[in-house]
């Protein structure tokens, strides 16, 4: 452990052997490839950057409208638009690494083979961790279809692990009856960590056209509206498995982040909140440090699962 002046809080956390400067991570799909937010903060001020989902070949994504607002929330149906894993490695990753970011690559695919191929290609790069997106609600193949079937979750985890030289985080879908079932399946498959939650499937309608607002029909709900659901699922998952957990879903303030950690998260991710406040991830990291000081925690890790009285 590094030497610190006595009065500062140790904000570092470790997820599956990877050390993060602080527990605040950007959520996949909301921060592009990291560089888009550099006018607002540098990625070495936060724990890690999770890039937009990467697939083997470039993907166009869904038609527009792709986004709609709901009370304190956002519905999106982007549909995994991305330039493909090879473009990312050549054109985005070097810049992000030069900025000293810890990089989590979010991986998606239409088949188990595609997930494995992307993981294999990325294993040869400077990416620090993989987040396996088996929970995207906005694509027909792969995505949530994989993430809601526990046998599939276990199989895909085990397969991807075989092709990965980096820690594998499985990103769980909240669109299930009992999240502990898929969490245990990922653990059985050999996952190194879990992240949750992805978006909840929802809809809005256009009152003039009498049609769904999103071109895709349904979309994924994120933002403060889903925060209590995310907390509940992190709490249940913490009680069911012993893997590290990255908690996300509606976190908008440092207090939210602290609450998420107390419910059982080892780190947190911030997504939609950055649309309203581009500096949200750094401000939440700073606020979390202040929270720890105020409460007399020498180390932010003391918060994780504190509601269980486990530490």
């Amino acid at each position: 452990m590094e030497i610190r002046p006595d009065n500062t809080t140790d904000m570092t956390v470790e997820i599956a052997g990877v050390r993060l400067r602080n527990p605040v991570i950007t959520a996949s799909g909301t921060c592009g490839y990291g560089k888009e937010y550099t006018p607002y903060y540098m990625p070495d001020k936060i724990g890690a950057v999770t890039v937009k989902a990467l697939t083997l070949e470039p993907r166009e994504g869904n038609p527009t409208p792709r986004i709609a607002e709901t009370p304190s929330g956002v519905l999106n149906a982007i549909g995994l638009q991305n330039p493909g894993v090879r473009y990312f490695i050549k054109n985005e990753l070097p810049g992000l690494k030069k900025l000293n970011a810890v990089v989590i690559a979010n991986i998606a695919g239409a088949t188990v083979e595609e997930y494995c191929a992307v993981a294999e290609i990325l294993s040869e790069t400077a990416v620090d961790m993989f987040e396996i997106n088996i929970s995207c609600p906005n694509v027909k193949e792969g995505g949530v279809a994989f993430g809601t079937d526990p046998r599939m979750v276990e199989r895909i985890t085990a397969q991807v692990k075989r092709f990965s030289s980096k820690p594998v985080i499985i990103k769980l879908s909240p669109n299930v009856t009992d999240i502990t079932v898929t969490a245990k399946a990922a653990e059985a498959g050999g996952a190194d960590a879990l992240s949750l939650i992805n978006t909840l499937i929802g809809m809005r309608f256009d009152l003039n056209k009498y049609r769904p607002l999103l071109a895709n029909g349904t979309g994924g709900l994120s933002g403060p509206a889903i925060f209590p659901v995310a907390l509940r699922m992190v709490w249940q998952t913490r009680a069911a498995v012993s893997l590290p957990i990255i908690g996300m879903g509606g976190i908008a303030t440092a207090d939210d982040a602290a609450e998420m950690m107390i419910a059982g998260a080892d780190a947190v991710a911030v997504g939609t909140a950055a649309f309203m406040n581009p500096r949200a991830p750094v401000e939440i990291a700073a606020g979390l440090e202040a929270f720890c000081e105020k409460k007399g925690h020498k180390c932010v890790r003391e918060l994780s699962g504190a509601a269980f009285g486990l530490i």
Binding site: G32, E36, Y37, P39, Q81, A274, F275, M276
Partner: protein, 256 residues
């Protein structure tokens, strides 16, 4: 970024059009024609609202907005003297082309950003503006105050001349009154304007509209279909309206 709201008032009694002047010297200095800002509206809104910069004048930004839903309704309650929280100026705007004569073609709330490029042309500019009916006509005096004469047409003919702004454009181009067109308004109008310009071989820039998430190029919510040529073959791709646009060369757009 924040600015001080100097003025926030309704423009005409017959519709919910508002104008707002914001004291924000740094943003006003940086602002380029055709750029926009993302406004935090408050309440339980989770997304900022994109609104075009009508014109940057000294240390102030002028914006105009129509009340459409929740966010713009909140904006009408923002007190003069209060603070506006915004991101921007954002995006690729209109390009000024020296030694040309500009025609600004606008419909409805699309008329506002045209002022920002019109002022660059000094006298070599005129505006062709379409409204639904006479009672909705507004801002002609503001165009004039920035040295931009405007011709007006209404969908229902209540202002005298009945028809669409595309007719005015066709006539102007036939008379050779302009060789650079800028347009903003309903998408069908812009598509028609683009087609006429193509026909006359006149360059045209369009300001596109799409629902946005981040406004910084990170979420790919705001994309529009564009055309490009690769090794002699025409292809299509999505581009982001927020930072690749909102203004595009009309020939680049694949109209729906």
């Amino acid at each position: 970024m924040t600015g001080k709201i100097v003025l926030n008032r309704r423009i005409i009694p017959d519709a919910h059009f508002y104008e707002m002047i914001i004291y924000a010297p740094a943003a006003a200095k940086r602002a380029m024609a055709g750029q926009f800002i993302m406004i935090k509206c408050g309440g339980d809104t989770a997304l900022r609202r994109p609104i075009s910069i009508c014109v940057a004048d000294g240390p102030t930004l002028r914006i105009c907005y129509e009340v459409r839903g929740k966010g713009t309704a909140y904006m009408t309650d923002m007190p003069e003297g209060g603070t506006l929280d915004f991101i921007g100026p954002i995006g690729n705007g209109f390009h000024y082309k020296p030694n040309r004569r500009a025609l600004l073609v606008g419909g409805g709330i699309g008329i506002y950003p045209l002022i920002s490029i019109g002022v660059k042309y000094k006298k070599a500019v005129s505006a062709l503006l379409g409204f639904r009916s006479a009672s909705l006509i507004h801002y002609i005096d503001v165009f004039k105050s920035y040295g931009i004469p405007a011709d007006v047409i209404t969908d229902d003919g209540s202002s005298g001349r009945r028809g669409f702004v595309t007719e005015l454009l066709r006539e102007s181009l036939q008379k050779g009154e302009g060789d650079m067109v800028y347009t903003c308004g309903p998408v069908q109008m812009m598509a028609a304007v683009a087609a006429i310009c193509e026909q006359f071989g006149v360059e045209c820039e369009v300001s596109m509209e799409e629902r946005m998430g981040c406004g910084v190029g990170a979420c790919t919510a705001c994309v529009c279909r564009t055309l490009f040529t690769e090794e002699g073959v025409q292809r299509e791709t999505y581009k982001r309206v927020c930072i690749d646009g909102p203004v595009f060369d009309a020939r680049e757009i694949k109209w729906k």
